[in-house]
Subunit: 306 residues, 3 copies
């Protein structure tokens, strides 16, 4: 059923209704305890990364090996025929002959949709420009579910560059399937785009847009930090003024609830102070990478098992 619905792959968080999410989280949960398996023996995953990645690529590759499969691919546009001017459509129509599923990261927002239109095997969108990164959002939900016991009823803050941040986009779309209060926290010029807000409004999701998280730390169950790139600010003086408001530190942690969880898709640059790392009951961003492996095993298994 999941396999049929997602036969073209996982392109956008919008493909997922609540039932789909609950199903894949249940499968992800099972995978936490399955270290190795042979269910994908003989299968090949192609990982086509036109942009750098550590976590996403390596977790997909590890997941594939843990399930008995193999991996081909490239890690940089420079070593592929993209450098010679080949189109995504042509690359996809070639690589599908060599593999059973394609994971692609590309700087263009529409790249994953385009790829899925030309492919006869499932495409997994591993980040498409400032668009989406749906498997990151799914692993974020698995993390919340496992660490908080529930998703419904939570107060969830999402901090950072919400305009260009593909992780924040996909997470917001997925959360629209749950009874949550979302706080979108960003500088005004980097607030969530209207199209995402319209989607949430249609689905009657309660959300607020604010520019600081320090006032609401005592009510949050989850704070999801993301990176704000200096270069995104039109006014660099403005950046200097606000940047410390987006660096989570030990003092912040003290103001949080007992069951509070701090998350981050990583890489983290300066936006969480390293001292916070030691509070591993609340600072769960490294654990999150472990849930990522389990979730990606579940996805690969669902899409490729015969």
């Amino acid at each position: 059923m999941f396999k049929e619905k997602f036969s073209e792959g996982i392109i956008s968080a919008k493909q997922f209704n609540r039932e789909d999410i609950e199903y894949i989280l249940k499968q992800g949960r099972k995978m936490i305890r399955v270290k190795n398996s042979h269910i994908l023996n003989g299968k090949i995953l192609a990982t086509l990364f036109f942009e750098p990645s550590t976590r996403t690529r390596l977790s997909f590759e590890s997941a594939m090996y843990r399930l008995g499969g193999n991996v081909i691919g490239f890690h940089s546009a420079d070593v592929s025929s993209f450098k010679k001017g080949e189109s995504i459509a042509d690359t996809i129509r070639t690589v599908q002959n060599y593999s059973d599923c394609i994971v692609m990261r590309n700087p263009l927002e529409g790249a994953a949709i385009l790829a899925s239109r030309f492919a006869n095997i499932p495409i997994i969108n591993a980040g498409s420009g400032s668009g989406e990164h749906p498997t990151q959002a799914l692993l974020d939900l698995l993390t919340i579910k496992e660490e908080c016991g529930t998703i419904d009823g939570l107060n969830i803050g999402i901090v950072g560059d919400l305009k260009y941040g593909r992780t924040a986009h996909s997470l917001s779309l997925l959360l629209s399937n749950f009874e949550v209060n979302i706080y979108f926290i960003s500088p005004r010029e980097l607030s969530l785009r209207n199209r995402y807000k319209a989607y949430l409004q249609e689905r009657k999701i309660k959300y607020k847009e604010i520019t600081r998280y320090r006032n609401i730390l005592d009510i949050l169950d989850v704070l999801y930090m993301t990176r704000i790139q200096k270069e995104r600010f039109v006014d660099q003086e403005e950046y200097e003024k606000v940047k410390s408001a987006y660096v989570f530190n030990e003092e912040d942690l003290e103001k949080t609830k007992e069951n509070f969880k701090l998350m981050h898709p990583l890489p983290r640059i300066t936006e969480i102070h390293p001292n916070v790392d030691t509070y591993s009951d609340k600072a769960i961003y490294f654990k999150q990478t472990g849930y990522g492996l389990a979730l990606r095993k579940a996805i690969l298994a669902e899409l490729m098992i015969d």
Copy 2:
């Protein structure tokens, strides 16, 4: 027998007589239906790519995994000791300790021969500068054989930069084993080098050199397009004048015979219009990549099975 003759590897299309070609095409044909196998369990293929590649590297790697083997290698000269000034001879004498067969692409024309002189395991030339690319030509013949039912008796046009195009060189050499009429189509300054023409003449192959293909579209069975790089033209005005003559479009397709086949080693940049792609009975360049996988499985199996 094949294994003994090719124990040093596959360096040039000149190594192949008609019997060798027919044998490897027969093996390639069998591999079309063998999705997975264990015949190369425990074997390691090294893919040493000093130049970018999508199709060649990924199809060799996929072929190796489909047969049960493993792969090591590098995809860019920048990440190897080549960057520190190591010679090809030293690289080969090292890597042969870690693998059972080496696939190499290198910008120097003589690289593959040099490598095979120092190696004690088979070397497969995956493109040596403006020299040769023999496994591409073998997969081209497999494609022709499977799609046209025969190679003998065909009228085959080869278009593009025939002076520097390694694919065109290897294909011409292989075709000299068959009863074909070849049309070499290129701007005059990029015509086939004398050494290749001399080889064809010795073997009494009928060929013509022309600068346009549009007049002969109605007699061709196969048109093999390749890329002409703008940079190859001494006179850029000349390039602007001729370039449209080397872009295959829908109108061209209408002038072709019912069983006409359009091929391309890919990547294709502008030399075939995307509209042509939809005529998949005649436009077989993506199917060609599938035959490539089968042919490379056959080659790896032949060279490495104990």
Copy 3:
């Protein structure tokens, strides 16, 4: 026992006492005859190379596959999140969720120690700046043991940039566990650092520092050549004066003892003349790469077998 002692990994040659070395050389010797095995089935090695490598990375990867395991990783800092500013500590705490052991090369001298402090799986230092490269030194000892029959009692010359050469550092530290005479041969400005000399003195190792090897060729059992980078010389005229004194040639070979062995960690640029290569009883640097594979198989097996 080995596994317990080295549960944090292999960071420095200083971790090894004579018993440890003899144990791992014995295991390495056994691996020479074991081509393939399944002892690491289901295990994943991560190879994180922030600097280029041919031998080290490919031999670890080949070793892993020969033992039945799999490999993930990156070959250049450019394709990882390091490019976005991620710290080594964060990269390690992520990748340990995807793998069973990490091999890392990094331009910073303290990188491997730092990594092992944060990791909960073994870290193998595959070169840390101008610091150490302990598995290279272990394979050098395996080579000496197998080719000379003994390590004790030998006269061993180590030539090159001893100040910055991490291979020379680790080899010197390991040799301090044996009864050897070491000749350190380098231009004065590139002589061994005091900290390494102090270590040898403490352990009562007989060593001499000289600037030329030609006078002692008749007493040496092993000469270990390494590269001197032109850029290391403050005075380029000085470099031009001395450089030929550091190029081993055929005439040098004639002055050596019957059982003399010439070694090199490779890549070799100009410091051994290619004519010397043909004297394969004395010039054993390519054989050395084969011992490297065996030794690395032994290390991976020791660190990862359950």
